[in-house]
């Protein structure tokens, strides 16, 4: 089974998914930046606000998250499911026991993507980034 990603203009690799959670009214679309430097898959502030995810109803992580240049407060979304499309356009759900969530504030950058961390990447046998053919995929 393969999950196909894609390159964006910024040169980074992304995977599209729908997030299913009992904290959301309906499945929400997310664009996940492949980030092998991130331990836990993380919903960033922009997506948090766009999806209307209410961090006040989520438990706060006991330890702050180390981001570049600062420690940030993060929240914990339990039992979220990312649903991807495989190479045959079939649904492939990946259940994560914990997903970190960064709460937006006025000055936060609010990018139009979230982060796919090693907790998700390491479930697959193979990560292929083929720049020559402009293909990226996770396979198991």
């Amino acid at each position: 089974m393969k999950l196909k990603g894609y390159f964006r203009r910024d040169g980074h690799c992304y995977f599209d998914a729908l997030l299913v959670s009992d904290k959301l009214r309906k499945p929400e679309f997310l664009r996940l930046l492949l980030d092998t430097g991130t331990t836990t898959t993380t919903i960033l502030d922009g997506d948090c606000e766009r999806m209307g995810l209410d961090c006040t109803k989520l438990p706060r992580n006991k330890r702050d998250t180390m981001a570049v240049g600062a420690m940030v407060t993060s929240y914990l979304l339990r039992d979220g499911v990312f649903v991807f499309l495989d190479e045959h356009d079939g649904l492939q759900p990946e259940i994560l026991g914990r997903i970190d969530v960064i709460n937006p504030d006025e000055d936060s950058p609010k990018p139009d993507f979230s982060l796919m961390g090693m907790d998700l990447v390491s479930r697959f046998d193979k990560l292929v980034i083929d720049r020559r053919n402009r293909t990226v995929y996770l396979e198991r």
Binding site: S21, K26, R50, L91
Partner: protein, 95 residues
């Protein structure tokens, strides 16, 4: 209802599963369309966020959150709308 039960109910329903596939395919097609029309979009909507539905720009705004609010006010359901930042400036990410 727990997340796992919600997921089971989706996967057991051919209609809801198909709806999810359609949503993901729509985003993929919108993103492909945006990438292939990048030069044209930069000329018209430089440094803005564009909202693309069915391979067509339906709204644009310099502020992504204002754009989302406007989209929800106009369309209600926006799960099949892809939002892309249109710029010809180099982008550098650092996390």
């Amino acid at each position: 209802m727990s997340t796992k039960k919600i997921l089971t109910s989706i996967l057991e329903s051919p209609e809801r599963s198909q709806e999810m596939v359609k949503t993901l395919v729509a985003h993929r097609e919108n993103a492909d369309w945006t990438a292939s029309h990048r030069a044209d979009l930069i000329e018209k909507f430089a440094d803005s966020y564009v909202a693309v539905r069915n391979k067509e720009v339906v709204m644009h705004d310099k502020n992504i959150l204002r754009l989302i609010r406007r989209l929800k006010a106009k369309f209600g359901e926006i799960s099949d709308i892809t939002i892309e930042h249109v710029t010809d400036k180099p982008i550098k990410l650092l996390f």
